[in-house]
């Protein structure tokens, strides 16, 4: 309180009364007067001091109150924001060409004499059927192949259409081979190139040859890396990454070169740069007998649900009998499951016959992470007849909590009759097939039926209402119609060599399959993968 002149409270109040100390005045005044003046001044000063104190107190209380109000307001009141929204433009990409690449003719490592075991050699030429809707199909041959037949009709064929609304294209090839040690029937659909392909199938144990073919139908070189998983987990080997696949080239690689002696491989092909199409070709030689050939196409990406449509069982009794032969263990129908995740998951496998009232069966499979698991397809059936799965068409459904991959293999063989000698028994005519899971159809789909025995289109309806699919035969032929019950499946024989436009098939899973005791095969019907959707760009 020592410096009143500095005080806020002074504002508006007269300055201190200094004139009364004027020496001349004081000198003239008598002592009494001076005394009175001093007293008056003192009392005025006291009153002033009180007033200052009061004002100061008021100012302080006001300030504290204002501060409290400010703190409460800033801390508690949710003030609204106002400003700009970040600008954005939604860009719908210009549609690109549609491309499919086929597998090409069957391949054998080494010539007929067994020499040059590292060199792939083409065996024969597949029958290719292809068709398109809404645009003109252009067909070309891959310019280069490790098999040395680039540009020939046996090399992988590339199908292409210009972009147009509602256009689609499809192709499928089949090939029956019967050379000395290389017998069987193979079929596969031509596939859309992709940067990530999962192949479930094959084996590299003795007598089992698996050849990986990677074709790059795009204009950009692809750097491919492989991941191979087996029953013992991931397989590491040199050369699995940095595989160059130049544009318009097919590379042929022996899976055994990376992963020898693997009973149940699963291969993941990843491409950077150009996109590729990959197939596994498996052939089996049991003892000295060539006993089958198959082309394994891409499985859908790992998902919590996998549906394999159109699994064919023929000559089950005869095949069962052949199992007793030496090295025929892998002729039994199995389901191969791979869990690419990091946690164990339980896959429930359901096997349901198509078009019959018979109840399906189901069984659980523990899928360890990073490990391929194989389970007999009839594991859920209580064996009383000796024949687990009756002849017919089956749908195999697999569900789990986590994404996984799954595929089914079946084998057919002619009856060798009861085995009564200990001497080696000649192998019967036989063949096997891998059935990849069928992707869900996103709309109308074009299905091409390659030549082959007893072609059949099977469809699975995971939905809750019946679906009627029209099979519109392209280029003449009988149109068909198929009712697929809700939650069930149906099949219908189709004409080999015909292309059908499946309308009303949205949401279904469908596959074409062939069955004979020496010619098994099948491939799923796929919609074109969705083109790149619109993207929001913020410039």
């Amino acid at each position: 309180m020592a410096e009143p002149t500095d005080d806020l409270a002074l504002e508006g109040i007269d300055p201190p009364d200094a004139t009364h100390s004027d020496p001349e005045v004081a000198a003239r005044d008598d002592a009494q007067h001076a005394e009175v003046m001093r007293a008056a001044a003192a009392s005025r000063a006291g009153a002033r001091r009180a007033a200052i104190l009061g004002l100061r107190l008021v100012a302080g209380v006001v300030a504290v109150g204002a501060a409290a109000a400010t703190v409460a307001a800033v801390g508690l009141i949710p003030f609204p924001s106002m400003g700009i929204e970040p600008p954005s433009a939604t860009v719908t990409p210009v549609p690109a060409d549609q491309v499919r690449a086929c597998a090409g003719g069957a391949l054998r490592l080494g010539d007929e004499t067994g020499a040059d075991a590292d060199t792939p050699v083409r065996v024969g030429q597949p029958s290719l059927r292809s068709d398109s809707v809404g645009a003109t199909l252009q067909r070309s041959s891959t310019a280069k192949s490790d098999a040395g037949d680039g540009g020939s009709p046996a090399a992988p064929q590339v199908l292409r259409i210009d972009p147009a609304d509602g256009s689609d294209l499809a192709g499928a090839q089949s090939q029956a081979v019967a050379v000395r040690d290389f017998v069987g029937f193979s079929t596969a659909a031509c596939a859309e190139p992709s940067g990530s392909i999962w192949l479930v199938g094959g084996a590299t144990t003795t007598g089992r040859t698996s050849i990986l073919t990677i074709t790059n139908p795009t204009d950009v070189a692809a750097q491919v890396s492989l991941q191979i998983f087996g029953e013992d987990g991931s397989v590491e080997a040199p050369g699995m990454s940095g595989i160059d696949v130049p544009p318009g080239t097919q590379r042929v690689l022996s899976l055994a070169g990376f992963a020898p002696g693997v009973l149940s491989p699963v291969v993941h092909v990843e491409a950077r740069g150009g996109r590729v199409v990959a197939y596994l070709q498996q052939s089996i030689v049991r003892g000295l007998d060539a006993t089958g050939l198959d082309l394994i196409g891409a499985s859908p990406d790992p998902a919590a649900d996998q549906i394999v449509a159109g699994v064919r069982i023929v000559d089950s009794v005869a095949t069962n009998r052949a199992l007793a032969l030496e090295d025929w263990d892998d002729a039994a129908p199995i389901v191969r499951i791979f869990n690419p995740g990091t946690e164990v998951t339980e896959v429930t496998v359901g096997v349901v016959p198509v078009g019959s009232d018979a109840e399906g069966t189901s069984f659980p499979v523990q899928a360890e992470p990073g490990v391929v698991t194989e389970v007999p397809l009839d594991a859920g059936i209580e064996v009383d007849t000796g024949v687990a799965l009756a002849d017919g068409v089956y749908t195999v459904t697999m569900t789990a909590d986590r994404p996984f991959l799954g595929a089914v293999r079946t084998t057919a063989a002619q009856d060798i009759g009861p085995i009564e000698t200990d001497a080696p028994v000649a192998a019967p005519p036989t063949d096997f097939a891998w059935y990849a899971a069928a992707p869900q159809l996103a709309g109308d789909a074009l299905a091409v039926v390659a030549p082959g025995p007893a072609p059949l289109l099977a469809a699975v309806n995971p939905g809750t209402s019946d679906v009627t699919v029209t099979l519109d035969a392209q280029g003449g032929g009988e149109d068909l119609s198929l009712v697929v019950p809700a939650g069930g499946s149906a099949s219908i024989p189709v004409v080999a060599g015909t292309a059908y436009l499946l309308t009303g098939a949205t949401g279904l899973h469908a596959a074409i399959s062939y069955a004979a005791d020496d010619a098994m095969g099948g491939y799923p019907v796929a919609s074109a993968r969705p083109v790149s959707g619109p993207i929001v760009v913020r410039p």
């Binding site: 302080g60 600008p87 433009a89 549609p95 929001v536 913020r538 410039p539």
Partner: protein, 938 residues
């Protein structure tokens, strides 16, 4: 022969002094033989007064000047005789009764004398000499031999002078006629001097008469004016007269040089006025320069001089004032002015003795310790820090309105901040980015220094400024700016104390006002959102100091000039609010809660107590700093109850303004960075908030002396603990900023290509958290700090150019049949970069990035390069679109801005004597600081 004296009294609106003049003339002991009264167009009661005094003859003159009136009167006189004398008087001059007698006595004894001048004295105090003889210096400047001095007969011995004033002059009529009277080109100033010089050159003498006194009410310049002429007008008249005389007196050969030099000299002298803190005289200087250049009266005056001059100039040279004497006189005049000013002494703690120096040293050590990792760095990166671009030429060229980087087709003026960056980069011209490293390393000591200095104005004691310096150095907004990489926040925080200091002084000092104006421009350029509150504070300060209103309000001028082009542009685009957006790169910051703002924390992650709380299992976030910073708030509020409230209340008002601005800022998303809205950074406003809070707290510390030392210590220690996690962040590596050897915005390959082919573009596709894709086209090696623009960051809609770029980007990020080549060529894009995502990335963000990289990999036009996510467009034709040369108008913009800042700088250079600073008072004395006391206008 008896001399005959004609007294001529010229009156123009001189009613106040006319009667006294008439009476004085009438009372002369030696009465003039004839009177002539001249009414030079009076509009007041002068004519009536003349009439009532029966003064005859009255002649009306159409000339409005004193000289003109005399000339008119002389024309009306009868035939001339050699003994005729003219006594020149104007209304308001009051001669003493013996004046004429003594003047005549002086001229009668010396026939060579043609002009005699009396002592012109103050009408109230006749012993005060106002004018008694005039002369000129070597370069022709008028020198008043006597200027308001007490008459102690000190000049009485010396009668001969070069010239005398026209007022009260006694002049031989024959000479008057021969010389043609006063020069019409010299209407008031120097009329008598010039006439005297011509008299001398005609061979006659001019004397001053010591015992003749004439009191004068107004200066010659005030003839006919009701109010005294203001300084500016006086200066213009004096300068015009000097230039006129120079042109008249000059020899023929020198004339052209003098004439050519008029305007350049006026400009140079204007600069001198700026440096001399006399900005009010600049207008007069320039006006007189131009007026002299087109002065039509020079020719006639030269002819008259040529005709009447009989003796050479050299003959009168001894009567001129030598240069050293002129200097002496000037120094004496300054001394007298300084003595008059009676400025209060500035009491403050001394820098060394008061501990300021030690504190700054301590702050420097802390700064180096905290930013240890920057010691060897060439650049500092992170947050909103970008490197500063290449060479100085390009740095300053950014100020020219033109294409802005970061977006296609955006062209316009630069942000004011660009100028700040240019200055900053020029400080370390060899490596502009290094200036930011220095800024980071010196931020703490500079903050401490500024706050200490500023606080010496709030308190005269030794401790409070130290408390202020520590609080300012430990301010959460400063430490946030340093750890989060906000160069604008750091600059604002460092500039604020100096701005406050200069702003307070601005009311009495031009130098301080100019300094404040430059600092204001820096602060507003760095944080435009502060502009409203700072302008309000300035207006309030001006209202409180009406005498300094021009200086205080003038503080905004440089900032306004700097921002004018941007203001014009944003107003034209209808987006005035975008002017408040932060300059520099738009970097989103998680919005802080209101509680955090109250604690001075400008963004959510700055509350680093959260992490410590999680570690020890206590909810320390927000709570710990709140408790630890509470002592400051308590001190600030206590100050209001105590003496010093006059200083504490404005400080708290400043704090409130800063807080309100911070709250406003975080709710004002004015800019966008990809999918995220970006608000102005609240830290700068919180610095203002903190300034007010710390200021009030310091007043409190000062007021509760001697307990203040302890309370201040408690506040400082608690504040230090509160911000300890922030200080530790750079040491622990959790700060956003870090040092680097070189700032690489884009992969090295891009940099190398850009060196070879300047102008190449790089399309930077950044996946956004919401699954959208940000597409930015960067030129050369990337967008640097000087190239950023709020015109780009505050765009609210998609222009055609943006849409084209978006189409290119969207298709490049998709499997598509789009042919990107024409667009890549058009935009001269050589590279596409998809930056790695900073953790944690959202699902859509990863997905869109994968989609983009896959599509780019599959694009046959682009070649993947190296291991970084970089694609090159190899078929790019060299030589991109050359930028058009900027127009003259565009170049004029920075030139004009530069001139304004040069003027401010010249004005800011301290040239006048500074206020005397004395040591801080001892503990027993307790005089208040005079910061807010009424003060004179120096």
């Amino acid at each position: 022969m008896q001399p005959r004296v004609t007294a001529i009294v010229v009156v123009r609106n001189g009613e106040t002094g006319l009667e006294r003049t008439l009476a004085a003339v009438a009372r002369q002991t030696r009465r003039p033989d004839t009177f002539v009264f001249v009414d030079a167009g009076s509009t007041d009661a002068s004519a009536a007064i003349l009439e009532s005094a029966r003064a005859v003859p009255v002649i009306s003159s159409s000339a409005r000047t004193f000289g003109g009136g005399i000339a008119r009167a002389v024309d009306s006189l009868g035939p001339e005789s050699p003994a005729d004398w003219l006594w020149l008087l104007e209304a308001g001059t009051v001669p003493e009764p013996a004046a004429l007698h003594r003047l005549l006595a002086a001229v009668e004894v010396a026939p060579s004398v043609a002009v005699a001048g009396p002592k012109l004295v103050d009408p109230v105090d006749p012993t005060l000499l106002l004018s008694y003889g005039e002369s000129i210096s070597r370069n022709g400047e008028t020198v008043h031999l006597v200027d308001a001095e007490l008459d102690q007969a000190q000049y009485d011995s010396d009668g001969d002078v070069l010239g005398v004033s026209a007022q009260g002059m006694l002049v031989r009529r024959a000479l008057w006629s021969e010389l043609g009277g006063f020069d019409p080109g010299l209407p008031s100033t120097d009329a008598g001097l010039d006439f005297s010089i011509r008299t001398r050159l005609a061979g006659a003498r001019v004397v001053r008469v010591p015992d003749a006194r004439v009191a004068r009410a107004s200066r010659p310049e005030d003839f006919g004016r009701r109010r005294p002429a203001p300084d500016g007008l006086m200066h213009r008249l004096a300068r015009s007269a000097q230039l006129h005389r120079r042109l008249v007196y000059a020899s023929g050969g020198a004339l052209i040089w003098h004439w050519l030099g008029l305007v350049p000299l006026a400009v140079l002298r204007s600069i001198g006025h700026l440096v001399g803190k006399r900005p009010g005289l600049i207008g007069a200087e320039l006006a007189s320069g131009f007026a002299a250049a087109f002065d039509g009266s020079v020719g006639r005056a030269r002819a008259r001089l040529r005709k009447t001059r009989r003796i050479p100039w050299a003959a009168i040279a001894p009567l001129r004032v030598p240069a050293d004497e002129v200097r002496e006189r000037r120094a004496a005049a300054r001394e007298r002015r300084g003595g008059r000013a009676e400025e209060p002494e500035l009491v403050r703690a001394s820098f060394l003795g008061g501990g300021g120096a030690w504190l700054v040293l301590f702050a420097a050590l802390v700064g180096v310790a905290v930013f240890w990792s920057l010691l060897q760095a060439q650049v500092v990166i992170g947050g909103a820090l970008l490197p500063i671009g290449g060479d100085l030429g390009r740095l300053w060229a950014e100020l020219v309105p033109g294409p802005r980087e970061g977006a296609v087709g955006v062209s316009g003026p630069a942000d004011p901040f660009t100028a700040v960056v240019a200055v900053l980069g020029s400080l370390t011209a060899w490596s502009p980015s290094f200036s930011l490293v220095l800024l980071w390393l010196t931020a703490l000591p500079l903050a401490a220094l500024g706050a200490w200095w500023c606080a010496t104005r709030l308190s005269e004691r030794r401790w409070p400024p130290l408390v202020a310096a520590l609080l300012w150095m430990l301010a959460p907004p400063l430490l946030s700016a340093l750890t989060d990489g906000r160069p604008t926040g750091v600059l604002v925080h460092l500039a604020l104390p100096f701005l406050v200091l200069a702003g307070i002084e601005a009311r009495r000092s031009w130098s301080a006002a100019a300094t404040a104006s430059i600092l204001f421009a820096v602060v507003v350029a760095c944080s435009p959102v502060l502009t409203p509150v700072l302008v309000v504070l300035l207006v309030a300060w001006a209202a409180a100091n009406p005498r300094g209103i021009v200086r205080i309000l003038g503080v905004v001028i440089p900032a306004a000039v700097l921002a004018a082009p941007l203001i014009f542009r944003q107003l034209r685009d209808g987006r005035p609010v975008a002017l408040l957006a932060d300059p520099g790169p738009a970097v989103p910051a998680p919005a802080p809660s209101g509680w955090l703002l109250l604690l001075g924390h400008p963004s959510q992650p700055d509350d680093r107590w959260v992490g410590i709380g999680q570690a020890v299992g206590l909810p320390l976030g927000t709570l710990a700093p709140a408790v630890l910073l509470a002592p400051i708030a308590v001190l600030a509020l206590v100050a209001v109850f105590l003496p010093g409230a006059r200083r504490a209340i404005p400080a708290l008002a400043v704090a409130l303004g800063g807080l309100a601005t911070a709250v406003l800022a975080v709710h004002l998303p004015l800019a966008a960075a990809g999918s995220e809205q970006v608000t102005p950074w609240a830290g700068a406003a919180l610095s203002l908030y903190w300034a007010g809070l710390a200021g009030a707290a310091v007043v409190g510390v000062d007021a509760i002396h001697p307990a203040g030392v302890l309370s201040g210590l408690i506040a400082v220690v608690a504040a230090a603990v509160a911000v300890a996690p922030m200080i530790a962040a750079p040491l622990l590596g959790t700060a956003a900023v870090s040092g680097a050897d070189s700032a690489r915005l884009l992969p090295a390959l891009v940099q190398a290509e850009a060196d070879a082919d300047p102008g190449i573009g790089t399309l930077v596709l950044t996946a956004q958290p919401d699954g959208s894709l940000r597409a930015v086209l960067a030129r050369d090696a990337g967008t640097t700090l000087d190239e950023t623009s709020t015109l780009v960051s505050t765009r609210s809609s998609v222009s055609d150019a943006d849409a084209q770029l978006a189409e290119l980007a969207g298709n490049l990020a998709s499997r598509s049949g789009y042919d990107p080549e024409p667009m890549l060529q058009q935009l001269h894009v050589a590279f596409v970069v998809v930056p790695e995502l900073s953790e944690p990335a959202t699902g859509p963000q990863s997905a869109v990035r994968q989609r983009t990289t896959e599509a780019l990999d599959a694009n046959p036009v682009l070649t993947p390069t190296g291991s970084t996510p970089l694609w090159q467009y190899e078929r790019l034709k060299p030589g991109g679109s050359a930028e058009p040369a900027p127009s003259a108008l565009a170049i004029a913009v920075p030139v004009v801005q530069g001139v304004v800042f040069l003027i401010a700088l010249l004005l800011a250079i301290p040239t006048s004597r500074r206020r005397r600073a004395v040591r801080e008072s001892g503990p027993l004395e307790s005089d208040p600081a005079d910061t807010f006391a009424e003060d004179d206008d120096g």
